[in-house]
Symmetry: C2
Subunit: 325 residues, 2 copies
DNA sequence: TTGTATGCGTTATCAT
DNA sequence: ATGATAACGCATACAA
């Protein structure tokens, strides 16, 4: 930047004004600065800029690199953040990287806010963070401290799945659970409540599973071994895919002999050969709201935390049909 | 940091020495500094640190968030980079984010080096970058300028697939192509050459496809419509999964009536119900070498670029068997 | 072993 | 409308 100033013959401050696009400069110098910048191949230094205004224009994103929903969420975040003038700093947690390490790194880079997409972190870990930075949690609804929450109404989602299957004539509807994963608890209780409301409390069956294909496949083995249900709702899409694979291998027709519903409507469910009936979370809307929540909190740090619940929507495809019996 | 210095009653420089773990301080002050740091909840400021030593300890990673191979590669990068004392700055490109935007952002954060995992970028775009930062390219082998290259021997991979199928008795082996994707060209020519070497030039059949399940599924439709082959090699795992789905839906048994080989040995191929025979790229090794290459180049910026080729390995699972006829 | 002084590239404050 | 100057938090060279 000093180079540009020297070349044009003005102060560095003036150059800064032009480059930031704030007013206060004459049109003539503005043009000359822009020209010089292009010629010199100038590239702004986000480090220095962030250092100066202690409140950096960077948002940290915590998520699991392996969960399709979270990845899709992040994808939607990018254009929105860019539009608001924020950079995104990704803090993925994976097998080789603990979550607190990820948080630590983001904080070292002085993120202004934190978007926690995969809240495996317990509320008690998140709460103290909220005093340093703006924190918004996506998925799990533990409103405590100053943490904003954007979440999908998981219970309604599985209820929609049950309603759909019941309307097709199913009664023997099993549920493959998601264990401790984000949202899994609510999905399970939504299933339970819906079954009860339909007078199917007796037919309620919850099988331990998970959010991965592996766990879905394992659950399917047990489920199909004796007295297989006519329909199964999976904790998420990957789990559903694992179930379908096992079912097909076992010679069961899907949906002829077994209807399957997933959750998330992720890209894997949309594979033509799978074409999974699934509960869709409104990711674009949630991403937008999450961003809005962080930015709002940056403006008013002590504002009352919001808890926004977004309604999911069942997308019927070709893994569900009338039961054969 | 100033707070710690004030509290302990020494200079900020001394605190810096302790915190960085370089010698030059007495054990007594060291303890007192560490204590004070913990009490005050001190967190180093990577921005400021990076600004000071212009050569930041940050490596940028360019990759496609949707390609399993690249994501797995990134996962392996984390523990290795951490061990070398580098932070990773992720520059994913997705639907809502062009590649040059991603590059630009990484450069604005003054990354010391760039690891380009998904080299969709053309060599002519990469080359000028290499004069500013250390660049290592993973996947595509276009050694030009000062760009180091770590790549898998794609041609050998598809050759291994062909060899395997031929040894099982297959002769009618088709190939579903990966188009313009990284490595696709080499995989295709490896297939072609291997077929020729086995005297199967006549049976060579390349069908346009891609790196996604969708493209695999579309290719399968055309492929299975008339005169289906007894075996098919897919450009990558996702593509293979798309093919398998269509084949199963069409009533074909896999591998009974159609053997399928994928590429990458990604987690989707390892789904129990899929259990895909696939060509494995040695990701841990490649990740290690890529990191080594960047670090080496940071030490000797003008050193002759290296071009390291890693040998892949066929992993035989249950989607390949003897042909039925 | 410890402290002092200076600079990294930018932005914000104040004065012109 | 524009410019000089200080400050952001840390690392480094050098002096003590």
């Amino acid at each position: 930047m000093a180079d540009i100033a020297a070349r044009v013959g003005i102060s560095r401050a003036a150059v800064s004004l032009v480059l930031r696009g704030v007013g206060g400069t004459s049109e003539a110098t503005k043009q000359r600065v822009l020209e010089a910048a292009a010629e010199l191949g100038y590239r702004p230094d986000s480090l220095a800029a962030g250092l100066r205004r202690s409140r950096s224009r960077t948002l940290g994103v915590l998520f699991a690199l392996r969960r399709p929903f979270e990845v899709e969420f992040v994808e939607h975040l990018y254009p929105l953040a860019g539009h608001l003038g924020y950079d995104l700093l990704l803090g993925p947690f994976t097998a080789g990287r603990r979550q607190d390490e990820a948080v630590d790194e983001l904080l070292r880079y002085r993120c202004a806010g934190l978007i926690v997409v995969g809240p495996d972190l317990h509320a008690r870990d998140l709460e103290p963070l909220a005093e340093e930075v703006a924190v918004v949690e996506v998925g799990r609804g533990v409103t405590r401290g100053l943490v904003d929450v954007i979440r999908n109404d998981d219970a309604v989602g599985t209820r929609q799945a049950v309603d759909h299957l019941v309307s097709l004539g199913h009664r023997d509807i099993a549920y493959v659970d998601g264990g401790e994963n984000p949202g899994a608890q609510e999905r399970r209780s939504g299933y339970r409540a819906a079954m009860q409301d339909h007078g199917l409390a007796e037919a309620t069956r919850v099988v331990p599973g998970g959010y991965t294909e592996d766990e879905g496949a394992r659950a399917a083995h047990g489920l199909l071994a004796n007295q297989p249900p006519t329909a199964v709702i999976a904790a998420n899409d990957l789990c559903a895919i694992g179930i379908i694979d096992i079912a097909l291998r076992a010679g069961l027709q899907v949906p002829g002999q077994l209807s399957v519903v997933g959750y998330d409507d992720s890209r894997f469910g949309r594979i033509p050969g799978i074409d999974l009936t699934s509960v869709r979370q409104d990711i674009p809307r949630m991403a937008k709201q999450a961003l809005k929540a962080v930015v709002d909190r940056l403006d008013r740090p002590t504002h009352k935390p919001k808890d926004l619940v977004v309604r999911p929507k069942l997308v019927v495809r070709s893994t569900t049909s009338h039961p054969s019996r």
